[in-house]
């Protein structure tokens, strides 16, 4: 709490608040720029891997459009509200530095919301494709998942099912590496954000569980800390 009030005093008194606001804005815009560069890299030849060109192009354009919407979001919603938001964070320091740290963690979540969205899109698409490829591979071998017995059984498919299944299997199998690439990139970004947030959360937990008050009492030799004697 003392630390919190100290930090609050520091932030209100010094002209630190506008610079903090500027740095937050800078961070957000940098993030957007980095993401755009990342997507352009993915749409080219990432790490020397040759991905399927039309699918790569389609996915890249989709995510770039999402970033364009995000830029609008930052401009309209975030920018006017940034200074009051930081003031709020500073004021909350009355509750202690842990409050400020948790608000910082939430602010970070807000700023990286688009990365969370990308991760969810890429993850859903990848898992759907993977499920389809697994199921069609069973069709390729002439087997089927038996839901009742929860095992893989042989199955005699019709001609129509075999036609459609084998062509779709080939198509989805060849398109899988491209989607896997996008999934890997966005998952690692999401993991980075989660690491930062969980470090903050661990710090907050450490602060919360540190016995500052009992130590101060002990230093002052208050009767509450003396044993029964």
């Amino acid at each position: 709490m003392l630390l919190g009030i100290f930090l609050l005093w520091v932030l209100l008194r010094s002209p630190l608040l506008p610079t903090v606001a500027d740095s937050v804005l800078f961070f957000a815009e940098n993030l957007v720029r980095i993401l755009q560069e990342l997507l352009n890299w993915l749409m080219g030849v990432p790490a020397g891997l040759k991905l399927n060109v039309p699918l790569n192009f389609a996915l890249g354009k989709f995510f770039l459009y999402h970033i364009y919407l995000w830029k609008g979001y930052i401009a309209i919603l975030l920018m006017p509200n940034l200074a009051p938001l930081l003031l709020c964070i500073a004021l909350v320091g009355i509750g202690g530095v842990s409050f400020q740290l948790s608000m910082l963690s939430d602010l970070m979540g807000l700023l990286t919301f688009h990365m969370y969205c990308f991760y969810v899109y890429a993850a859903r698409l990848y898992f759907l494709m993977f499920y389809a490829v697994r199921s069609l591979f069973r069709l390729f071998r002439g087997k089927k998942w038996n839901v009742l017995r929860e095992r893989v059984d042989s199955c005699s498919y019709d001609m129509d099912q075999l036609f459609a299944g084998s062509i779709l299997f080939a198509v989805l199998l060849f398109l899988l590496p491209t989607v896997l690439m996008y999934y890997a990139v966005f998952t690692s970004l999401r993991v980075a954000v989660i690491v930062i947030q969980s470090t903050l959360s661990a710090l907050i937990g450490f602060i919360n569980s540190s016995p500052v008050y009992p130590v101060i009492l002990w230093l002052r030799q208050a009767p509450a800390t003396k044993g029964i004697a």
Partner: protein, 298 residues
């Protein structure tokens, strides 16, 4: 006291005593089939027919790639072949149905798997629509994969098709599903190498005709008309494959001829030569096996 072949009573003999009736119940080679040369040669035509249809498919792709075969010609040929083949199949079905029933089993099998003309038409429309819709995707599917990899995958898949094809015996390795799927996968791989999307569509349709529809027709013809038609089909398909290989790459044609002679004449000779060396023993120690044919009159 005479020795009895039991162990649940004490006898004056040792437990492992055997008398003169030992191994009387051993029978050798009960179920072996004696092969004769010419019928085996005629039956081996099934393998060479499948091999030549694969060769014809690959030759069609090679000609389309080298622009020696125009798109219109492929569409025309495959379209007329499909229509004529289907008409022939329907005629044979009708004529088989009007024959006196050989056994009750056959008639019941026919009526259970009967598909009407509308069913087949629906399947055809479904397939054509799917192939047409997917052909732009198929066209750019393997652009980033090197040509050598594509050729290797196609070759491996077609080899799988040849090996796992349902030639007739009920062995565990045979899997009509896997062989058909491997052929379709190979056709998708190789169709993505062609110039335009219409070429891709033509290749995939041709593959379906050759690997799904033609085997059905061949089996029907063989079952209905016996060995003359079988020999005729073998010679026709193999000559066509040989001529297209000559046109394409003569050394390959020579290899094809050698393989054909080996499969048609060499393998039956070999089989007949080693058949007398067969030495299966049967006896009361074998596992009991049930009759696999379920009696249908019950």
């Amino acid at each position: 006291m005479a020795w009895k072949k039991i162990l649940y009573e004490r006898q004056s003999y040792a437990d492992n005593y055997v008398d003169h009736t030992f191994l009387d119940e051993l029978k050798k080679n009960v179920n072996t089939h004696t092969y004769r040369f010419w019928p085996t040669v005629i039956e081996s035509g099934v393998i060479t027919q499948q091999l030549s249809s694969i060769v014809l498919f690959v030759a069609a792709f090679a000609f389309m790639n080298a622009d020696k075969l125009s798109l219109k010609a492929v569409f025309l040929l495959s379209g007329t072949a499909a229509v004529l083949g289907y008409a022939a199949y329907r005629c044979i079905c009708v004529s088989t149905a009007t024959l006196p029933a050989i056994s009750s089993f056959n008639v019941i099998e026919e009526s259970q798997t009967k598909r009407s003309v509308t069913d087949d038409l629906k399947t055809a429309i479904l397939f054509l629509a799917l192939a047409y819709g997917l052909s732009p995707i198929l066209h750019t599917l393997t652009e980033s994969i090197s040509t050598d990899t594509i050729y290797a995958m196609t070759a491996a898949m077609l080899f799988g098709n040849l090996v796992l094809y349902d030639y007739g015996p009920n062995a565990a390795m045979v899997s009509g599903t896997v062989s058909f799927n491997a052929a379709m996968f190979a056709s998708v791989c190789i169709a993505s190498r062609l110039a335009t999307e219409w070429h891709t569509f033509a290749t995939v349709t041709l593959a379906v005709e050759m690997f799904a529809l033609m085997p059905i027709l061949r089996r029907k013809l063989k079952a209905r008309y016996g060995w003359h038609v079988q020999v005729g089909m073998t010679l026709l398909l193999n000559t066509a494959a040989f001529l297209s290989l000559c046109e394409l790459y003569p050394p390959c044609a020579v290899i094809f001829l050698i393989i054909f002679i080996f499969i048609t004449f060499g393998c039956p000779l070999w089989l007949i030569r080693i058949q007398p060396l067969k030495d299966n023993i049967h006896g009361p120690w074998d596992e009991a096996s049930c009759d696999t044919e379920v009696p249908t009159h019950l």
